[in-house]
Each structure stands twice: as structure tokens, then as C-alpha cells.
């Protein structure tokens, strides 16, 4: 066996020893972690078992309860106010529509009234014109009628 072979063998075995040591260290760490995990779980369970409802959970639950109540109230208030606003808005709209309809009806009535008055005025004017003009216009005819009566 040459010196070179001896040297290579030495470094190889050193590497092997190093790797083995690393694996052992990893296994030791794994065992330690698993032991700590078991101890932690036992401690937690014992604490929770003797005090079933831990303060932390209760606090978190009450925080959640408060938050959900607040959210619920906000939603309820929002929907109620939106309903109220909508009803109010609808009432306003109905009032405006009624006022507009009344105004339109009044306008129509007024227009009709004016038209009727105009017509009456015109008829009255025609009547007065006729009553004033017909006697003179009808005079020859009346004379003829009276002559025929005399014969």
C-alpha cells in the first residue's frame, strides 16, 4: 500500500467519522425535540384538564362575541335606517306626484273654464249681433209677408 493510498484511506475514514457524528447529533436533536414535544403536550393537557376553560380561550371567545355583536348591530341599524329612508323617500315622492297631478288637473280645469267662457262670450256676441241686425235685414221679407197677408 502506497503512502498516497494510506493518506486517502485516512481522509476517507475521517469523513466517515464526521458524517457519523453529524447523523448522531441529528438523531440526538430529534430525540430531544420529541421528548420536549411530549413534555409540552403533557403539561398543556394537565393545565387544561384542571382548568377546562382557559382564560385565553374565554378572552378570545368574548372578543369574538363582542365583535360579532357589533357587526350584527351595525348591519341591523344599517338595514333599519335604509328601510326608514326608503319609506320616507317614497312618501316624499308620492307627495310630489300628488301635487303635480293636482296642479295638472287645476291647469286643465282652468283651460277648460277659459275655453268655455270664450265660447259663451262668442255666442253672446253672435246673439246680440243677430238680434241687432236681423230686424232691419228681415224688414223686406216682413213687408212681403205682411203684403201677402193683406191680399
Amino acid at each position: 500500500m502506497s503512502v498516497k493510498d494510506n493518506f486517502e484511506d485516512g481522509s476517507h475514514s475521517q469523513r466517515e467519522v464526521g458524517e457519523r457524528a453529524e447523523i448522531e447529533a441529528q438523531e440526538f436533536e430529534l430525540k430531544e425535540a420529541l421528548t420536549n414535544f411530549r413534555l409540552s403536550m403533557h403539561a398543556w393537557s394537565e393545565a387544561a384538564h384542571s382548568h377546562p376553560r382557559t382564560e385565553q380561550v374565554v378572552r378570545r371567545q368574548s372578543w369574538r362575541l363582542a365583535a360579532s355583536w357589533a357587526l350584527g348591530c351595525a348591519i341591523a341599524a344599517g338595514s333599519v335606517s335604509s328601510v326608514v329612508y326608503q319609506q320616507h323617500h317614497q312618501k316624499e315622492m308620492a307627495k310630489v306626484a300628488a301635487a303635480q297631478a293636482k296642479y295638472a288637473a287645476d291647469q286643465k280645469l282652468a283651460a277648460e273654464q277659459i275655453a268655455r267662457e270664450d265660447e259663451e262670450d262668442l255666442l253672446a256676441k253672435v246673439d246680440s249681433d243677430v238680434s241687432r241686425e236681423v230686424p232691419s235685414a228681415m224688414e223686406p221679407l216682413a213687408q212681403l209677408m205682411s203684403e201677402a197677408d193683406a191680399k
Partner: protein, 180 residues
């Protein structure tokens, strides 16, 4: 003279006193939720009480109870997957909180911190395990059960239990090694 029924009730009461902490611990580790673990433990013993008459003693009472507990938590996860609101209301604690529980013993502050970090990493890897792998892992490394007991409690063969354990340990190893 006590009747058979009274004797059975007394026997059951002894079983509850003896095994309740262990069943609760397993359910707490599976759910990380104290309230839920309490509820499932109650359900487990209620179910056991109803079927106490049919328990023939083929396995130990502990194995029988653990089997009921495993089925209950399995049912719970199955139902929860379908119920978004239940999922949203979960009380399970964070991994950070779960790893807070460590007996201080005679450790230095540095050792305690190191241990807390290790526990956190184990929790992190447990979170990534499948339901079966997690159950087998917890029974082995928290409850320190033998492989044969785990096989009986889960209804799996010993070979399957070994395979699940090996995969679970692989994950823990990777988590510990990856963050070194």
C-alpha cells in the same frame, strides 16, 4: 349485595377516572382546541357508556376508548370540511401558543428557548401530516404506545403503522434539519 348493573357502573366509573386524562390529551393534541377536546372527550365516554355492555375485553379498555376517540375526531374533521362556518369559528390555538407549555424544571432560560423552538418545529411538521400519520405519530410520541397497541386502536396493520411513523418522522427530521 350489589347488582350486576351496579358493579358495571362502578367498573365504568373506574375506567373513566383512569383513562380520561389520556383520552383528553390525545384529543387536545389532535385538535389544538381545549373546548373541542373537552366536548369530544365527553362524547367519547358517553358512547363508551352506551356500549359498555358490549365491550368484551378483547383489547384493553384504553385501546377500546382510544378507538372511539380516533373515530370521533375523524368524524369531526370530516364534518368540518363541509361546514365553512364551523371552520371559521375554530378556537384552535396557534402553534406558537401550543408550544408555550413546557415544564421549566431545572433548565436555563436559553435551554427553555431552545426547547420551545424545537416544540414549535415539531408542531409545524405535525400540521403538515395526513390525518392518519398525525394520529399514529401522536399515539407513539405523545402517548408512548407500542406499535401493536396503535395498530389495534387505529385498525391498521403494524406494517402500515410503521410506514406512517417513518413518513411522519421524516417530516419532523426535515423540519428540524431545514431550519438549523
Amino acid at each position: 349485595m350489589a347488582t350486576a348493573q351496579e358493579l358495571a357502573a362502578e367498573e365504568f366509573s373506574t375506567v373513566v377516572t383512569k383513562h380520561r386524562p389520556q383520552i383528553f390529551r390525545f384529543l387536545l393534541a389532535s385538535t389544538r382546541d381545549v373546548d373541542l377536546a373537552e366536548t369530544l372527550t365527553q362524547e367519547c365516554f358517553l358512547k363508551a357508556h352506551r356500549n359498555w355492555g358490549s365491550f368484551r375485553g378483547d383489547s384493553t379498555a384504553m385501546t377500546w376508548l382510544m378507538r372511539i376517540a380516533i373515530n370521533l375526531q375523524k368524524d369531526h374533521w370530516r364534518n368540518r370540511r363541509m361546514q365553512f362556518w364551523r371552520h371559521a369559528r375554530t378556537n384552535s390555538v396557534d402553534l406558537d401558543e401550543a408550544s408555550d407549555w413546557l415544564p421549566s424544571g431545572e433548565r436555563s432560560v436559553e435551554q427553555q428557548l431552545l426547547a420551545k423552538e424545537q416544540v414549535e418545529r415539531v408542531w409545524e411538521s405535525v400540521k403538515g401530516l395526513s390525518e392518519r400519520q398525525r394520529t399514529v405519530f401522536l399515539l407513539r410520541y405523545v402517548e408512548e404506545q407500542e406499535l401493536s397497541e396503535i395498530a389495534r386502536a387505529t385498525g391498521l396493520s403494524e406494517g402500515t403503522v410503521k410506514a406512517h411513523l417513518s413518513r411522519a418522522l421524516g417530516r419532523v427530521r426535515a423540519e428540524l434539519g431545514g431550519k438549523r
